[in-house]
Symmetry: C2
Subunit: 178 residues, 2 copies
DNA sequence: TTGACAATACCGTCCAGACGGTACAGTTAC
DNA sequence: GTAACTGTACCGTCTGGACGGTATTGTCAA
């Protein structure tokens, strides 16, 4: 029965995100996560020695995933701005709201520091590639706004409108804008 | 000692927002709020019969405050778009992060429905006043992005950059943009 | 090659404390 | 007298985390 599973960490992280989504960001208990992951509470605590570590792991895994996707796209020749717009738009189209971010926030706002740093690094990289900083800011914040609406569950745009907006932002970012 | 105070509700609501800000959105306990408001727990529960009612009141008070400010500005002759930009920019400049919104989210995501409805109404009103919907969407979402960065505590822009961005958004909204 | 030990990866239980909420008797301003 | 509380005591539940086990897989000297 106690066959070691190498992917326990990933399963637990995925379970945590699911529990946050389904039972609300404030109801993320270790018991619920362990049960969802098919792991005992002791097993969970073995992989993440405290709830704080679990939340930090949750945040880190999502940040790393996004950065990896971005770097792969750039390595594959896609311009950074384009990759950023595409990946963020894709995140907005997923129907899983990212409730994990609110769980982390509820536990301790400091846990979101990796996200904040990631955003700062990203904006710096974008600035370095873009001639018109003001236009870049417009594009960047509009995209972040779209994402935040998604996070808060505010269904405010039709799919068409969203597509229209993202295309317009691409134009602006490409220098054919403002 | 037990002098009835007519403004208990407001004091409790303000205390709740402060506690959320200072001890984290997830640590909003009735005891802490009551103590902070200088009210007994019984007194708190007299005004808000449950924690859910308290959170709903917290959300409602903030939404109503913003809507009132907006309506006053419009009644005073300021164009809606301009008032929206100004008030939102002012909210971003305050140094109180609005942690109450995360407390409500942690308690139950449904509690944010009044906020979502408010945003939808606002966007509809803005659409009705603006000839170019795409430009409006760019402005609206950029502003929401700026606000969300504030909410998440991501210090990403200098005061100058923020000012520059908001001015640019005013231009676009005024039709001299994209 | 085998026996001793150690490390890994868990399981299952238990517990102290926190929290939401109730109950109720007393107090004071109007 | 009533509305608006205060203060205290209490209850049931939930939760994080500590702890003691257990099975499996190395490691390594004799």
């Amino acid at each position: 029965m106690s066959i070691p599973r190498a992917n326990s960490r990933e399963r637990i992280l995925a379970a945590a995100a699911e529990v946050a989504r389904e039972t609300g960001p404030g109801s993320l208990s270790l018991d619920a996560v362990a049960h969802r992951a098919g792991v005992s509470k002791g097993g969970l605590l073995y992989n993440f020695p405290s709830k704080a570590k679990l939340m930090q792991g949750l945040v880190a895994s999502h940040v790393e995933e996004f950065e990896q996707l971005l770097d792969e796209a750039v390595a594959g020749g896609e311009p950074l701005v384009s990759a950023y717009l595409r990946l963020t738009a894709e995140a907005c189209e997923k129907d899983e709201p990212a409730a994990w971010i609110f769980s982390a926030m509820a536990e301790d706002p400091d846990f979101l520091e990796p996200v904040n740093q990631h955003r700062r690094r990203l904006l710096d990289r974008l600035k370095a590639e873009t001639p018109n900083v003001t236009d870049l800011l417009v594009v960047f914040f509009a995209m972040e706004g779209l994402l935040s609406m998604k996070l808060f569950g505010t269904a405010i745009l039709s799919a068409d409108e969203r597509k229209m907006l993202v295309e317009r932002l691409s134009q602006i970012a490409g220098g054919r804008g403002v």
